[in-house]
Structure formats: structure tokens, C-alpha cells
């Protein structure tokens, strides 16, 4: 919009977009066939459940919190949905129940965190153990899902022209990103989250509903994690309690690579989408290459987190100095 938007506040977002373009360009240069709309559409489909979870995580991080339970909630939802459907429950009812449980679970953690001033990372860590254990309590094995609706959704393809198609999962991801964008940037609730993450004390003095916003954001994140779990069942047509192990780290990484400040108060939902694309591109490039091993993924992601954290450190310090 204006030059000031490109520097300062949105610099991390611009940096993320630049990194994505560069990464995608370099990858396309080295690997023939990479530069196509199909690949981008596949990036969305293949990383849909990570992306959906990351959008919820972004909101939590905006508020200065963190939620380590999302991977476990995905695993729980996955096996919960499959188990219910295995007993003849209709998929829609199973989804509703799963979303309800996820939301209530997140809301409970949020309440503990806010009401008793407990550290978010500790409570959500406990939440992670709890959700993972509950999932395995239902079933430690993978359960296949057979249902006409699942078959239909698996074959669903939204033609985007040319060879591009968007799967149901990719579509859900884009819808969640759009919803997340509206919530974060165009609602009072979203703006309150930024204010809390920026300075909780000031937010209180400004008369903002700090407590309810904090509880709500964990509930919303529980909802998106459960949704990600449902999308995971669509992706593999099965439910598995071991899904999503370590996914909370990937989600946090994606958020940080997307330019959001991990201590809260700064960032953009679209950055998280870009973060998912960067994450997906690295993964796809490693797969395309065949020579590089998959563990490079973690190392590159760790290095990217380091770069972004140092970049943000520099920006925040710069702003602080000017303010002083």
C-alpha cells in the first residue's frame, strides 16, 4: 500500500514472500517440472493439515501464548473420528463431535492458563500428553475408513484451469486461511489478540476483554487442530492416533517462518500461508531430488527459525531504540 507498510511492520512478511519466491525459483531451476501450477496446488493439498493447525497456532502466538498440544489433538481427532465411524456413526456427526471436543479441550486449557496464571507451555504440554494418551486409549492401531462421503471427498477436484486442480483438503486449507485472515485482521477479537501479545498490561488499561480473548483463542486453536485431524483422515482415508507427532513444532516453525513474532503482538495470517508453502517447497524439493535425505528438512527448518528470530530481534530492538 505505502512504503511504510513495506518497511517496518510488514518487513518480516515481505521477507517471507521473498524467501518463498527465491526458494521456489531456485528449486524450479534445478528440477524440471517443478515450476507448475500443479505443484503449487499439490503443496496446498499435501500440507493442508499442517496449514490448518498452523493458522490456529498463529492466532495463539499473536496473543503471546503457545500451544504444544495441537499435534496430539490431531492424533486424537483422527482416531476418534475413525473409531466412531467404524461403529456406524455418520461422518458428519463424528466430525461435529470431534470439533466440539477439540474446542472444549482448548477452552479448558485456556481457562487454566488465564484463570490461574499458569505458563501456557506447561499446561499445553500436559494437554499434549493427555490428548495423545486418550487417542491411544481408543486404539493404538490405524483404522481404515470406508464411507461413500470419504470416497467422494477423496476424488473431489476443483479444476482451476490448465492442469491445476485443488483437492478438498487444499480447499479447506484456503477457507481456513481466509477465515483466519478475517478473524485476525478484521474483527475486534483478532485485534484484541494483537494488543494482548503486544502488551497485556496496556491492553487491560485500554479496557479490552483480555481474559475472554485469551480463553477463546485456545478454544479456537482446539477447533482448528480438530479440523486438521479431520482433514488428516480425509487425506489418508484412515484414522491413526499416532498422527501429528511433532507436528506442533512444524506448526510453530511455519508460523515463525511466516514472519510472526514468537513472543506475540506482531505478524500476519498470510505469512503463515507463505510459511506453509516454504515448508512444503523444501519438502517437495528434497523428495524431487532423491539424493538429499529427509533429515535435511529439520535442519533447514531450524536454520530458518534461527534466521527469523534473529531478524525479529533486530527489528524489535531497532523499534525500541527509536522509541527510547
Amino acid at each position: 500500500m505505502k512504503l511504510s507498510m513495506l518497511t517496518g511492520r510488514h518487513l518480516p512478511l515481505v521477507a517471507t514472500a521473498g524467501i518463498f519466491c527465491l526458494l521456489f525459483g531456485v528449486t524450479a531451476y534445478f528440477y524440471e517440472g517443478f515450476f507448475s501450477g500443479r505443484v503449487v496446488a499439490d503443496l496446498l493439498s499435501d500440507n493442508a493439515f499442517l496449514g490448518i493447525a498452523a493458522i490456529g497456532m498463529t492466532l495463539v502466538i499473536f496473543s503471546g501464548g503457545i500451544d504444544l498440544s495441537v499435534g496430539a489433538v490431531i492424533g486424537f481427532t483422527s482416531i476418534f473420528t475413525a473409531t466412531l465411524m467404524g461403529r456406524g456413526v455418520s461422518p458428519v456427526v463424528a466430525w461435529m463431535l470431534a470439533l466440539l471436543i477439540g474446542t472444549a479441550f482448548g477452552g479448558t486449557m485456556g481457562t487454566l492458563i488465564h484463570a490461574f496464571r499458569l505458563p501456557p507451555f506447561l499446561i499445553t504440554l500436559a494437554g499434549m500428553f493427555l490428548a495423545r494418551g486418550m487417542g491411544f486409549w481408543l486404539n493404538t492401531e490405524s483404522v481404515a475408513i470406508h464411507h461413500p462421503l470419504y470416497d467422494w471427498l477423496a476424488n473431489f477436484d476443483l479444476p482451476l484451469g490448465g492442469t491445476m486442480h485443488l483437492s478438498a483438503n487444499g480447499l479447506i486449507l484456503l477457507l481456513v486461511v481466509a477465515a483466519g485472515y478475517v478473524v485476525a485482521h478484521h474483527t475486534r477479537f483478532g485485534r484484541t489478540l494483537f494488543a494482548i501479545g503486544g502488551n497485556e498490561q496496556s491492553a487491560l488499561l485500554m479496557g479490552l476483554p483480555v481474559g475472554s480473548a485469551k480463553i477463546t483463542v485456545y478454544a479456537v486453536n482446539g477447533f482448528t487442530a480438530a479440523l486438521a485431524g479431520i482433514v488428516q483422515t480425509l487425506y489418508t482415508s484412515s484414522g491413526d492416533g499416532s498422527k501429528g507427532i511433532g507436528l506442533e513444532l512444524d506448526a510453530i516453525a511455519v508460523v515463525v517462518i511466516g514472519g510472526t513474532l514468537l513472543s506475540g503482538g506482531r505478524g500476519h495470517i498470510l505469512g503463515t500461508l507463505l510459511g506453509v508453502l516454504i515448508f512444503g517447497t523444501i519438502q517437495a524439493a528434497i523428495l524431487f531430488d532423491g539424493r538429499l535425505s529427509s533429515w535435511w528438512m529439520r535442519i533447514v527448518v531450524g536454520a530458518l527459525i534461527l534466521v527469523f528470530i534473529l531478524l525479529q530481534r533486530f527489528i524489535v530492538r531497532g523499534a525500541g531504540r527509536r522509541g527510547a
Binding site: 511504510s4 474483527t187 475486534r188 484484541t192 494483537f194 494488543a195 502488551n199 485500554m206 479496557g207 527509536r322
Partner: protein, 507 residues
């Protein structure tokens, strides 16, 4: 101006745990005036402001605003009644845009959505009213403190306030920025707003205010028209003594001062300065001498001490210790070279609350010796026993957590902490603040003893009497500048006050 005051406080009394912070104070502000609220530490200014803005509710008294009796129970409540406050610490969100900071909590829009266009428009209007021009999309944190202050004022005024409370808005502004702020204040005054202006800078009081209310020790000293109250009289009223008072200083002290005057300085500074803290200043401190550092609140006393002790890095100038140039990167360096600094902020910069009296007491000595040269438990206990007896520290035993002690005894433990390091120079920043009279007398006695033992002492205090009683000579700061020295021979409260007030040149 109308005769009917806009704001009228009558008989406001507020007690905290049996301590009376405000005692039957009256205060009134008219529409279209700038009213300065003045007083030194503990005068009750901030309590009065908090009563006004709904943070505290008074134990007795009435508040009327524009003829209606009000009882604000929260800052939001007060804002709705028409009283808006801008604090010294800008209570906004630096990472968000200017426009959003003005709108937060009352964004226009339906169903929980926000209308960005309306937010920007409101922000532009609110800033235009103050004649401030800036890009409302810019991040608040990218602005100078002065502009952030303007945004805070814009936010406050957006509520169609009748009364604007500015609580030390100028504390971190430079001259030009202050001038800008005053322009805005005058403009708002001509719009008919009542403004309460809290500041420590007397020049500013005379530059902008119409009337002055002075508080001292929770009581109203009086209300004056600014034009009719000479500066020196004002300082006298704030400090609670008439200007003609003479000090009774003992001959022994003057003698000590004479002796010390011949000795070479222990510590000297040349052009020591830091932007926003203190203008370049030279000072010299000698062994066996208690040097006072006086000035009104906000004059740069603590800032100077922080530079001397390596807490903040100077922008310019140098420090000489025993004639040799030294540089302190941290308090650690200063402590190793024999300096000690007892901070005015006991709670956040002094005590380690959950650690025991013993651990707090031996801490600086142990830190100076390093981790390996550990003081044995017996040595520690000996030190504790010695200082607990010598300073008459009242504590059940040395193993009690220091947070359980009273303020005065905590202060004594902190003094003992420094004395145990056997420093050559000790900087005492408000060593007697908030402690009872008995402990205060003991601490002053101790200061005299330290002088006798050949220490150099730099005593910072807002109490004129304390400075005059204890110091051989006094360096005076005014508005972050060195304002002059009052030598032993001339050291009287009246002389000191006139230098502090900046009227001695004319006098």
C-alpha cells in the same frame, strides 16, 4: 473561564493499611485552564490522580464533574464520565498502527468486525485536532516518545473528554518536543478543556500553567495563581519550609569538610553525559567526605548515579578513579574497583526477595570474590552477626527471607551488603526513603561514621534537611543539567533551594 469549576474534589481522604496517603484534600480545576499539580515524593499526587481516574476509590470526600457528583470505580468508568488520563509511560501497543491504537477497544463496525476505513478517518480527525501530522498507518513504536505521547492524548480526547490528566508527560521529552506539547495543551485549553498537569520541571510549570496546587505529605498546602507565586516560594511550599530558615550545622562536620578538601579526589568525571539522562557534567568526590547530589525529582540524580556505577553507558565523557581513567561495562566492573551503589528502588533493584537475610547480605562481597573464593558458612554468619548488631537490623534470624523484613530493615541489610565489600566510594540513592524515623536516624548516623572511616560518600536525597545535615558540600542538578555547587560555608536550606529552583542567579 467560568466561576463554576469543572472539577471539584472536596475532603478527599485515602488510607492504605493505616497509612494516610491523602488527608482531606480539596482540589478544583476550571474549564479552559491548565492546572499544575505539584509535590515531592510521597506528597500524594499519584494517589490523588488515581482517585480521580477511578483506580482507587476514596475513603471519604466527594468528586463533582461539571456539576454532577461522580464516583469512578475504574479507569474506563472515569473515561466515560469525561476524565481521560495520559500517563508518563505510554500505555499503548507499540507494535500496532497509530490509527489502531487510537481506536482499540472502541473500534467502529458491526458484529465484532472492524471498519478500517472508519478507524483511519477517526484517527486522522483526532490527530488533526492536535495539529499533529503523521501517517496513521505507521507503527506506533516507530515514533518518538513525544509523538507517542500525542497519540495517547489523541486517544484520550477521542472520548470527548472534559478533563485531561497529563501525568508527567514531559519526563522523557527534549525541549523542542516539550514546546510542541505545550502548543497542543494551550490549544486544548482554548477549546475549553480542563487540564491537570503533573510535572517535576518548574520551568514548565511557569511556562504553561494558570494555577498551581501544591500537596505535601498527603495534605493540601494551597492553591495559587501561577503568576503570583515566585519560584522560590513554590519550592519552599513543595519542600515544606520557609525560605528564610537557617540550618544548624555542627562545627565538626564543617571541620571534616575542611580536612577532606585538601585530599586529592578519589573519583572525577569529565564531561560525563548520556542523551536523555544528563547533560555533560564534571564532579569530583573525595575520601572522608559526604558529597550531596541534590535536585528536584527528575533532575537527573539517579541517572548520574547509574552512569557512575556502570549500569548505563555514557555517550560522552570519562570517569577517573584515583587519577586513572576507567571504563565500566557493568556494575561488576565498578564493584571490583571499590564502588558501591544502593539503589532507590529497593524492591526491583535491591533485594532478592526469596533469599535469606544472610544471602542478601553477603551477596555483593561474594560476587566480588567470584564463585570459587567462597565465604565459609562461619565467615558468612560472622559477617551477618556483625552487621545485624552494628546496624541494629531487626530480624528473627539471618535465615529469614528478606521479603519478611520491614522496609527500613531491608534497607539496612542492603547497606550492610555494600559495607561488607569494603568499598572506597558508596553512592546512596534515597537511602532513607519509605522507612521509619528511628531507622532513618540510624542510617544518617552510619553515614557520618563512614565519613570518619575515610570513605567517599555520594548522598542523593530529595530531603533538603537530610542533605544539609549530612553533606560537606552539595552538587545541584536542575532539569538534567549540572546547576552548580553549594560549598560547605554556604550550605543552608535556603541557599540550596534557590539553586535547585534556579533563582540564585537573580538572587
Amino acid at each position: 473561564m467560568t466561576d463554576q469549576p469543572l472539577l471539584q474534589l472536596r475532603g478527599i481522604t485515602k488510607r492504605f493499611l493505616g497509612v494516610t496517603a491523602l488527608n482531606g484534600v480539596d482540589f478544583s480545576v476550571r474549564s479552559g485552564e491548565i492546572h499544575a499539580l505539584l509535590g515531592e515524593n510521597g506528597a500524594g499526587k499519584s494517589t490523588l490522580i488515581k482517585v480521580l481516574t477511578g483506580v482507587h476509590s476514596p475513603d471519604a470526600g466527594q468528586i463533582t464533574l461539571a456539576g454532577n457528583s461522580i464516583q469512578p470505580s475504574s479507569p474506563k468508568d472515569a473515561e466515560q464520565a469525561g476524565i481521560s488520563t495520559v500517563y508518563q509511560e505510554v500505555n499503548l501497543i507499540p507494535a500496532l498502527s497509530i490509527a489502531e491504537n487510537i481506536a482499540l477497544g472502541r473500534q467502529p463496525g458491526k458484529f465484532g468486525f472492524v471498519n478500517w476505513r472508519a478507524i483511519r478517518r477517526h484517527a486522522r480527525e483526532a490527530l488533526a485536532r492536535l495539529e499533529v501530522e503523521c501517517d496513521v498507518d505507521a507503527e506506533l513504536g516507530s515514533l518518538s516518545v513525544a509523538l507517542q505521547q500525542m497519540v495517547a492524548i489523541a486517544r484520550a480526547l477521542d472520548l470527548r473528554a472534559k478533563l485531561l490528566v497529563l501525568d508527567e508527560p514531559t519526563a522523557s521529552l527534549d525541549e523542542k518536543e516539550v514546546a510542541e506539547l505545550f502548543k497542543v495543551m494551550r490549544r486544548l485549553r482554548s477549546d475549553g478543556l480542563g487540564i491537570v498537569f503533573v510535572t517535576h520541571f518548574l520551568d514548565q510549570v511557569y511556562a504553561v500553567s494558570d494555577r498551581i496546587t501544591v500537596l505535601r505529605n498527603g495534605e493540601l498546602v494551597g492553591e495559587f495563581a501561577t503568576a503570583q507565586l515566585p519560584r522560590l516560594a513554590l519550592v519552599g511550599k513543595m519542600l515544606g519550609r520557609e525560605v528564610k530558615d537557617e540550618a544548624g550545622r555542627s562545627a565538626a562536620e564543617a571541620g571534616a569538610a575542611d580536612q577532606a578538601a585538601s585530599a586529592a579526589p578519589l573519583l572525577e568525571t569529565r564531561g560525563l553525559a548520556r542523551r536523555g539522562a544528563i547533560q555533560p557534567m564534571n564532579l569530583s568526590l573525595r575520601r572522608g567526605e559526604v558529597t550531596g547530589l541534590a535536585g528536584l525529582l527528575g533532575s537527573g540524580r539517579t541517572e548520574t548515579a547509574r552512569l557512575l556505577f556502570g549500569i548505563d553507558a555514557p555517550d560522552a565523557g570519562e570517569i577517573l578513579l584515583g587519577g586513572k581513567r576507567v571504563e565500566f561495562d557493568s556494575p561488576r566492573d565498578a564493584v571490583r574497583l571499590g564502588l558501591a551503589f544502593s539503589s532507590e528502588d529497593r524492591k526491583t533493584e535491591g533485594i532478592m526477595p526469596n533469599l535469606s537475610v544472610r544471602e542478601n547480605l553477603i551477596f555483593a562481597l561474594q560476587a566480588k570474590r567470584g564463585a570459587w573464593k567462597t565465604l565459609s558458612r562461619a565467615e558468612q554468619e560472622k559477617l551477618c552477626a556483625h552487621y545485624i548488631a552494628a546496624l541494629r537490623i531487626k530480624t528473627p534470624d539471618a535465615e529469614t527471607p528478606i521479603k519478611n523484613l520491614s522496609g527500613g530493615n531491608q534497607q539496612k541489610v542492603l547497606l550492610a551488603r555494600w559495607l561488607a565489600t569494603q568499598p572506597e566510594l558508596i553512592i546512596l540513592d534515597e537511602p532513607t526513603r519509605g522507612i521509619d524515623i528511628g531507622a532513618k536516624a540510624e542510617i544518617e548516623q552510619l553515614i557520618g561514621k563512614l565519613r570518619g572511616e575515610g570513605l567517599a560518600v555520594l548522598l542523593i536525597s530529595s530531603e533538603i534537611e537530610e542533605i544539609v545535615r549530612n553533606c560537606s558540600r552539595v552538587l545541584v542538578l536542575r532539569e538534567r543539567r549540572y546547576a552548580g555547587e553549594v560549598p560547605a560555608a554556604e550550605l543552608t536550606p535556603a541557599r540550596l533551594m534557590s539553586v535547585m529552583a534556579g533563582t540564585h542567579e537573580q538572587a
